[in-house]
């Protein structure tokens, strides 16, 4: 069976990371920005799992790390969405362009 080489997986994860970063900078909807951050975190997960499987298969450090990242990303999203809901109550919008009271 032909195995996928490590470089392909790393290419995928790096591309995903920068797509996430691009999404964060261009999108104006807060929920979409959160999704972009999740994309970046998931690219890190791919990295960890790939490195663990291809290079250091005798220990499980990388896989454990990715499990922790998933858990913490969930906690982060929960707090962020709570904040966004509270912001929606006062601003009646979840567009970042509408939350511009603090400047310069």
């Amino acid at each position: 069976m032909n195995e996928v080489p490590l470089t392909h997986i790393l290419f995928l994860s790096t591309a995903l990371f920068f797509i996430g970063a691009y999404g964060l900078f261009t999108r104006r909807n807060m929920i979409t920005m959160l999704m972009a951050i999740e994309l970046m975190l998931n690219s890190v997960n791919i990295n960890f799992v790939a490195f663990n499987k291809y290079l250091y298969a005798d220990k499980l450090d990388g896989i454990f790390f990715s499990i922790f990242i998933i858990t913490i990303a969930a906690a982060e999203a929960a707090v962020a969405i709570a904040i966004i809901i509270n912001l929606y109550r006062s601003h009646h919008s979840i567009d970042v362009e509408d939350a511009t009271e603090l400047k310069y």
Partner: protein, 469 residues
């Protein structure tokens, strides 16, 4: 064996116990009065601070994931002191607040995260501690639930901190790929400075720079500081920054020790830019919280200057300066919290003629600003002196002189506030404010700290004796 867990994790256990106690009070049937609760919690925090000085042991736990040295214990004591002072100065704001217990639960959770982060010996524990210390902070920044600015600040904080941890994690994953380990010690054995490792280093540095607001990544700082409630701003600008700086320092000095000749120049350039930009933006601010945000950016620049020395003196001077910075910034925020809670005024022009009505508060604010600026009798001067000395060890004298010149620029804006307080006439100055006992205690502790820390040379020598490269 069990004893070891109890003693080494002593400071963490105490914080966890306090968190659970507050949780039980929260869900319990009895409605406590805010005043009683505040006094009780402050006594608990004082006990926590004192317990930090007792029965301190060094050691490792969980296969080196958690370690504790005398220096780390000292750093924890500094953080405990800071949290106690923040809790004291938050009194006027929390007195009427409905969600007092949640405030303390979130505050202590972040403190717990910082403790784990500081004593981590492994990237996993470090990451968990970092997240535990930033996610509740975003909730804290939103604590004035009905203010538009507060929720905007919290949104900015959570998005930028999530983004920065994603960058940091990407760096960590590459570092794991190149070294095959997560433990600080083993990674430092496998760092050779090849290209992939340098990229990992830069990503990790960028993540850290977000958290301590070094210049290219400082844009969230001023907005969050202005929008968040004043005590939370104090906490953000002093405690959370101090904790991240402690672990930043130990990551730089242990994990990336072998490529120190490569990174010290990066840190040096970042520090010069940070000092300059922080100063230039602070010149034009009118909101005091925003002003202090930019001044704290400039202070972080000086701290990085000390760090770039890569010597024992670097460690000692950074910790010494952070102790002084804690006293001076918390004194300033103590006054600002009190005034914004009582009179709801936060701009510099509101403070004109402040001396006529509130001489004590004016003196506290003035001495705090002098200490931040680094005027000799106060401790801030000695802190900056040691930082610049440490930065000069690598021999970049021209740029060190440039940093010293920037101290003079900073005098302009610090003294502008002092001038507004003492000299500018005002028809309607802020009315006389009666100072409650707890904030007064905090201000007196801060005043004593700002003046005496500079004169007692054994404090610096003690920190120096604990520092190990």
């Amino acid at each position: 064996m069990l004893n070891e867990y109890l003693i080494l994790l002593k400071s963490e256990w105490i914080i966890i116990a306090i968190i659970f106690l507050l949780l039980f009070i929260k869900v319990g049937p009895k409605d406590w009065k805010n005043e009683t609760l505040l006094y009780g919690i402050n006594i608990l925090l004082l006990f926590n601070l004192l317990a930090g000085f007792y029965n301190n042991v060094e050691g490792n736990l969980f296969n080196g994931m958690y370690h504790s040295t005398q220096l780390i214990l000292l750093e924890k004591n500094i953080l405990n002191l800071g949290v106690y002072l923040v809790s004291l100065i938050a009194y006027p704001w929390l007195k009427e607040h409905k969600h007092l217990l949640e405030f303390y639960i979130l505050l202590l959770s972040t403190l717990l995260g910082m403790f784990f982060m500081i004593s981590s010996g492994n990237l996993l524990i470090f990451y968990l501690g970092l997240e535990l210390s930033t996610i509740p902070l975003a909730a804290l920044a939103n604590f004035d639930l009905h203010k538009r600015q507060s929720s905007e600040a919290a949104m900015k904080l959570i998005i930028s901190s999530a983004f920065s941890s994603a960058i940091l994690l990407f760096g960590v994953s590459i570092l794991y790929g190149t070294t095959g380990s997560l433990s600080f010690y083993e990674i430092s054995q496998h760092i050779y400075g090849n290209q992939l490792q340098v990229i990992a280093f830069i990503l990790i540095l960028a993540g850290f720079c977000f958290k301590i607001s070094v210049v290219p990544f400082h844009l969230w700082t001023a907005d969050v500081y202005e929008g968040a409630p004043a005590p939370v701003t104090a906490y953000l600008s002093v405690i959370s920054k101090t904790a991240v700086l402690f672990i930043f320092m130990s990551v730089m000095y242990t994990v990336f020790k072998t490529i120190a000749t490569q990174w010290y120049l990066m840190i040096f350039v970042l520090s010069i830019v940070t000092i300059l930009i922080g100063n230039l933006f602070a010149l034009r601010q009118n909101n005091l919280k925003r002003f202090l945000a930019f001044s704290s950016i400039a202070q972080v620049g000086f701290i990085l200057l000390g760090l770039s020395g890569t010597s024992i003196m670097g460690i000692a001077s950074v910790i010494y300066f952070l102790l002084i910075y804690l006293f001076s910034n918390l004194a300033a925020f103590g006054v600002i919290t009190l005034v914004s809670a009582v009179a709801n005024k936060e701009t510099i022009s509101d403070y004109k003629g402040f001396y006529k009505t509130n001489p004590f508060l004016s003196w506290v604010l003035a001495i705090a600003l002098f200490s931040l600026a680094g005027v000799p009798p106060t401790a801030g001067f000695f802190g900056k002196f040691f930082l610049i000395m440490a930065g000069a060890e690598r021999g970049n004298y021209i740029w060190v002189v440039f940093a010293a010149i920037n101290m003079i620029i900073s005098f302009y804006y610090y003294l502008k506030v002092v001038k507004a307080i003492f000299m500018d006439p005002n028809d309607q100055p802020i009315e006389t404010i009666s100072i409650p006992a707890l904030p007064k205690l905090a201000m007196i502790i801060c005043l004593a700290g700002m003046i005496l820390t500079g004169f007692f040379s054994w404090i610096y020598e003690y920190i120096y004796s604990l520092s190990i490269l």
